[in-house]
């Protein structure tokens, strides 16, 4: 059984998430996600995860596959197992040997609009 982690939201292996996935806090993704990912906190993407979505996060560490554009306000770390197919925007970028990046990398200090996660009460 996996030990509990610092993340308050965990998408584990064995599930698929579809739609506009939003979170105020830190998120760990180890399963499959399709749609949009908007995270006001830090994101960690596990080695075996598959994300088919545009991703916005405060900081991110990516070890799995991301097909879509990724925008990170702070630091983006691509691990050796990472496979990025899409454009990357980050303030600080770290790429380990073996990571695959297929897309445009922008590091011009432009501000990344962080998502304002709306509660379900606001939608009533």
């Amino acid at each position: 059984m996996a030990k509990s982690t610092a993340e308050e939201t965990i998408i584990a292996r064995g599930v698929r998430v579809e739609g506009d996935f939003k979170s105020q806090g830190a998120v760990l993704i180890e399963g499959e996600v399709a749609g949009n990912v908007q995270i006001a906190g830090d994101l960690r993407v596990g080695d075996e995860s598959k994300i088919h979505a545009d991703v916005v996060a405060q900081n991110a560490v990516v070890g799995g596959e991301v097909r879509g554009n990724i925008q990170v306000a702070g630091r983006l770390e691509l691990l050796s197992s990472a496979k990025m197919i899409g454009d990357v925007t980050a303030d600080v970028l770290s790429v380990q040997a073996g990571a695959l990046v297929n897309g445009k990398i922008t590091m011009d200090g432009r501000e990344v609009k962080m998502p304002k996660v709306e509660s379900s009460d606001d939608k009533e």
Binding site: S4, A12, G19
Partner: protein, 248 residues
């Protein structure tokens, strides 16, 4: 005014001594009150609401989690305080979570009146304080906050937590954060037969669980069935007397 709701099983002769000691201590502390004894054909909701109309301000469940659930169902939306004196060994998780010791000591905790406003969970108009557990659920889809859906690849266990202890794979659920926690445990296949569980945890305000098959679940220990369950967090719904040893 205190109103004590004795569950049916508490009236068993084996609890007579303990009950008598508790009643004496409550009188010593000046918090003795009217007593209602639940029985098979007595509707606890009606009984408790009638007493609230007559002026009861603190309703104390004497029994276990199921007794507390009956009281919480009855006091929803009413301006009263809920307390508990735990009895018996089965179904007594909530007492531990809210820091209520067993036996006579619980009278002192009641008397100290440390109040906490807690959220409740609601599933298909059934309120719960602790958790809803659904085991071996297959062909299921969980819609979270009307934004996204979670689809487990195989049969899994789903637990919706409002107030719960930390476990190996999940942290404690806080009943004051205005959210429920959806926990999905999916068994993973492994080469050497070792059983591995992948745990998904998503905090939500609202969730809808739909299954192609009929699913059996338990809300705070009370069984129910269905194939669509609408969950909602009801923030600050109930004022509960808690002990210093509470787990949140």
């Amino acid at each position: 005014m205190y109103y004590y709701v004795y569950d049916e099983f508490v009236q068993d002769p084996k609890f007579e001594r303990e009950l008598s000691a508790i009643e004496t201590r409550l009188t010593d502390l000046g918090i003795a009150g009217k007593i209602a004894r639940l029985a098979l054909f007595r509707d606890p909701k009606e009984l408790i609401r009638d007493e609230i109309r007559k002026g009861a301000k603190t309703i104390v469940a004497i029994g276990n989690d199921l007794t507390l659930r009956k009281v919480i169902d009855a006091v929803a939306d009413r301006d009263v305080v809920v307390g508990m004196i735990p009895f018996g060994k089965d179904n007594n998780v909530i007492a531990d979570l809210i820091g209520m010791p067993g036996g006579v000591e619980s009278c002192d905790v009641l008397s100290a009146r440390i109040l906490q406003e807690l959220d409740l969970g609601m599933v298909n108009s059934r309120r719960f304080l602790h958790t809803v557990v659904m085991q071996n659920v297959s062909k299921v889809e969980i819609e979270c906050d009307r934004d996204f859906t979670i689809s487990p690849f195989r049969a899994c266990e789903i637990v919706v937590r409002n107030l719960a202890m930390p476990e190996d794979d999940v942290r404690a659920a806080d009943p004051t954060d205005g959210r429920l926690e959806v926990v999905v445990r999916v068994p993973q296949r492994s080469w050497f037969g070792a059983k591995k569980i992948a745990t998904t945890v998503v905090p939500v305000k609202r969730a809808v669980i739909r299954s192609a098959t009929n699913v059996a679940g338990a809300a705070d220990g009370e069984a129910f069935e269905g194939n669509e369950f609408i969950f909602e967090s009801l923030p600050r719904q109930v004022r509960v007397i808690t002990g210093r040893a509470r787990k949140f």
